[in-house]
Subunit: 200 residues, 2 copies
């Protein structure tokens, strides 16, 4: 009887997910065949199907992976001394992700797919709720420390901080001249003014 | 010989585009068959093909229509006395569009399609450039009238005003509880603070 080595199993799974992310970015979710993913991963279809029953399952696993990675990062940020600096650190990370064509393309495909696949929509909404809750916590702590306007509703403001993250990816998709790293100063100015100013 | 009545021709074209927009919103661009569009428009395939050679041509025409509508609206805004009020009027219109599921879904599909169809990408980028130029003009006039921070680069700031429009649609796609009209006050606050505050 064959035993499963959990470290090897996880590594193989990651290998398939990375290959799939690249294929989806190049050809889109619907334009990618499972055979493309197998070829890219350098694995046989039988081997890939041992880890994932279908292309759709691979796509779902990619979104789950994304949520797990974000959770781990938010847990780190929750320990940071300076909550406002932690928030801007998060924004810097996202600017880097938006500058990565594979990651940016997958993010847009996921948003489109969520429009017509309830399972994808539920998973995306779940990840997003956790992200917004993490951002709201940072805003609450920053307000308590007197770093931002304490009259702003943290949950309501967190929605519009998360919206800037969406906007980064949307701009990449729309404008071939949009360079996320070059835009970081203007985004930082926008967020600083939004969060810091006292209401008129 | 049959002569073409240009008014009737334009009306039929609009009828097909409306039917297609609804189908694309329900089933996505790739999930929609030309037969679905014909059925929805109440026209025979032969009749529809008289106006558009393919489903793809219908999709392209929808994006072109979008650009033409936006241009006409921006030309109106360029005549407005109060450029800042005109900008917020534009934002109000977009909030209404984001609250319309058919429009919102089509916008997201278009963004995803632009990732892998150069023709769609070029058209989307063209429409976006014109929108940003229109917003930059409003910002320039608002700054000259002393209504907003005149140290902000109008083109750079216009990018992030346009980004808020993208963000509205992305939020609709991501968060089932996101209600564009309820979010309008927070969006207005964000834009007011971003545009009005003097740099620190």
């Amino acid at each position: 009887m064959r035993t499963v080595d959990p470290v090897k199993h996880a590594a193989k799974r990651r290998q398939i997910l990375r290959a799939a992310a690249t294929c989806f970015a190049e050809k889109g979710l619907h334009g990618t065949r499972t055979a493309d993913i197998c070829a890219r991963a350098g694995m046989s279809p039988g081997n890939v199907f041992h880890y994932f029953p279908s292309k759709h399952a691979i796509f779902i696993a990619l979104i789950e992976q994304e949520g797990t990675d974000t959770d781990a990062y938010l847990a780190e940020l929750a320990q940071a001394e300076d909550a406002l600096a932690a928030l801007f650190g998060l924004i810097d990370i996202v600017v880097g992700l938006a500058a990565d064509p594979t990651y940016a393309s997958l993010t847009l495909d996921t948003a489109a797919e969520a429009q017509r696949d309830e399972g994808v929509a539920a998973l995306v909404a779940h990840n997003d709720r956790r992200l917004r809750a993490g951002i709201a916590d940072l805003l609450r702590r920053a307000a308590a420390a007197g770093r931002i306007d304490n009259t702003l509703d943290p949950r309501g403001a967190a929605t519009w901080v998360a919206a800037q993250i969406d906007a980064l990816f949307a701009r990449v998709a729309t404008d071939p001249d949009f360079a996320p790293r070059d835009e970081a100063p203007m985004l930082r100015l926008l967020l600083t003014r939004f969060l810091s100013a006292k209401p008129a």
